[in-house]
């Protein structure tokens, strides 16, 4: 087997490759992320950024209390985020649990939302603690139900114990299941990886194993998508592009609740990976509450006065 001509699928080659990765300058990454967060994005640039951010949202509900009704409401919101304003773009995707995929897909098709993709969280999300057979069945169910994107979690326990090949092979197997049609996002759960070096290692490991996207977090662990972590991952996809000529997407998820946070992420993307990444095919934001704040900021920009949360839907 050959993965981008960089590793051959053996433990030795994977270890060798990961060892060659440069370490992350922690202070440097944090101060650069903080510096970029001070960029001021106003007026027309802000309008553009808000619409772009809306089109990048993976509108997410991952609650034990999810019902088919809630999923349908979410689907409707994904297609027309603001029912009173048809100029608001649809979001990138809806992100739901496995058993809700078919409900979301059917409802989206019914209401003219064929262009909105359905993402399913998979492989024993959020902990990843299950046998490989269960993880494969979990993923197969989602694909059969019509998921266009699979958000899989890695086995953080194995990664932190240094069993990199185990993690690698799991991703490879899920990749094979997804084939060419289904997008694979690999969740690193950076809040559990402890160091930025680990984040960089895990990013490369996931990309080598065939990820289309690397995603920060499940949203169930805090801290989640902090700016320095996203910066490290964006540097990883940039470096990977230089090595392989292939662009991998990045999806921060968890903790991005308002427009200001979202625009900070877009600045990071533009300044780190480059403007090619500023589209929903290569950058997504996993969020639920964020969309309402984006809509309210959009209203403020349009009307010139402050809006009320009572004019946007609760979920």
């Amino acid at each position: 087997m050959n993965y981008y001509g960089l590793v051959d699928g053996s433990d030795a080659s994977l270890r060798n490759f990961l060892r060659t990765l440069s370490g992350v300058d922690q202070i440097g990454a944090e101060s650069r992320a903080a510096m970029l967060a001070t960029r001021s994005i106003k007026t027309t640039a802000k309008n553009w950024a808000i619409d772009l951010a809306i089109s990048m949202v993976d509108l997410t509900t991952l609650e034990g209390a999810d019902t088919p009704g809630k999923i349908r409401a979410l689907a409707a919101k994904a297609v027309r985020p603001d029912p009173t304003d048809s100029t608001v773009p649809s979001v990138g995707a809806v992100c739901v649990y496995n058993d809700m995929v078919s409900i979301a897909r059917q409802h989206l098709d019914l209401i003219g939302g064929a262009h909105v993709r359905v993402a399913a969280v998979s492989t024993a999300f959020p902990s990843g603690r299950a046998s490989m057979a269960v993880k494969i069945q979990d993923t197969q169910d989602a694909i059969d139900a019509g998921a266009a994107e699979i958000d899989m979690v890695i086995d953080r326990g194995a990664f932190l114990s240094g069993r990199y090949l185990e993690v690698f092979n799991e991703i490879v197997q899920i990749r094979a299941l997804c084939g060419k049609k289904t997008h694979l996002k690999v969740i690193l759960e950076t809040g559990e990886l402890v160091t930025y070096d680990n984040v960089r290692k895990a990013s490369f490991l996931a990309m080598l194993a065939g990820a289309d996207f690397i995603k920060t977090s499940t949203g169930k662990v805090s801290p989640a998508a902090t700016p320095p972590v996203v910066l490290v991952m964006l540097e990883a996809v940039r470096d990977f592009y230089e090595m392989t000529d292939r662009r991998i997407g990045v999806k921060p998820a968890g903790g991005i609740r308002n427009t200001k946070d979202a625009i900070k992420q877009l600045v990071l993307v533009n300044e780190t990976a480059g403007p090619e990444w500023l589209n929903p095919g290569l950058f997504r934001i996993g969020a639920s509450a964020l969309l309402n704040d984006l809509l309210m900021q959009r209203m403020k920009m349009r009307d010139g006065y402050y809006p009320s949360p009572t004019y946007v839907t609760i979920d």
Binding site: Y305, Y306, P307, S308, P309, T310
Partner: protein, 281 residues
């Protein structure tokens, strides 16, 4: 012996139970009637107003959900704390208004008494303005006054403490939360009042106090879609109609009060809820 170097007080804003500086970093000078500098005060921007409204909205449901008795007790507690600060208020008012300490003390006493008067109304509102209504059907029919939500207030320029009390007390006693713009000319007693609120049992965000220019901020109060009512007693008569027009978009209740101390000031920011309860089902 060396003369002691005075520690000057920084007057900031009061938003969500905290004392931030203005987001804009601006300040202005509060002066006495002779033009002498007294202190620097924060010059709030529209974004400070925006943040204050968010704080007020977050606090509203819990404050309205507290029992009327509990709200009354908290307001009485504030009166107790005001009592201990009488000298500080009197000194600030005397300096800003150029009046004697005795005259200033009189205003402080009137303000505290007024606060207690409004506090007493908390558990009597439903008795005065609620009703059971005779209806032609098998129902008990009640009407109950309920708080509107987030109410803005532009406090009058003169009588900086008494005017502030008259603006805040009738709004929050019923379960509304508020964002108040204090007297521009005499902002200091308002921030001392905020210190009283911060050390009483009033939940954070129920009362938020800004200091700044009325001409700059009043239009943002009026157009803000998340403010449900507005007391513009402190706005110049010439600007009032513009403010009322700006408040039309969300059907904001906008009132001007003539200074009379009456429970109607409380009811102005309450709305009626009518309940039909079936009999014999």
């Amino acid at each position: 012996m060396n003369e002691r170097l005075e520690v000057k007080k920084t007057y900031k804003l009061f938003i969500g139970g905290a004392f931030p500086r203005s987001e804009s970093g601006r300040t202005y000078e509060a002066k006495g009637p002779d033009g002498a500098f007294i202190a620097n005060s924060s010059l709030a921007s529209r974004k400070d107003l925006r943040d204050a409204v968010v704080a007020a909205r977050n606090a509203q449901i819990r404050w309205a959900g507290a029992t009327a008795y509990n709200r009354g007790q908290i307001l009485y507690r504030i009166a107790e704390m005001l009592e201990g600060r009488r000298a500080q208020f009197a000194t600030e008012i005397a300096a800003l208004d150029g009046i004697s300490l005795q005259e200033a003390e009189l205003e402080v006493h009137t303000a505290i008494d007024r606060w207690v008067w409004y506090a007493g109304w908390s558990d009597k509102l439903a008795a005065i303005n609620g009703s059971t209504n005779p209806v032609a059907g098998p129902f008990y029919n009640f009407t109950i006054p309920e708080p509107m939500g987030v109410i803005g207030a532009i406090a009058p320029e003169n009588q900086s403490l008494l005017g502030l009390v008259d603006a805040i007390a009738p709004i929050i006693v019923s379960g509304n939360t508020t964002v108040v713009l204090a007297s521009t000319r005499a902002p200091l007693p308002a921030m001392t009042f905020a210190e009283v609120l911060a050390t009483s049992d009033l939940p954070a965000g129920v009362c938020n106090i800004l200091t700044g220019q009325k001409s700059e901020l009043a239009p943002w109060f009026a157009s803000h879609m998340d403010i449900d009512g507005l007391d513009i007693s402190g706005v110049d008569e010439s600007s009032r109609s513009d403010i009322k027009i700006a408040g039309v978009e969300n059907l904001k209740r906008i009132h001007v009060f003539d200074g009379a101390t009456t429970p109607q000031r409380i009811f102005a920011f309450m709305e009626a809820k009518t309940v039909w309860h079936p009999i014999g089902v």
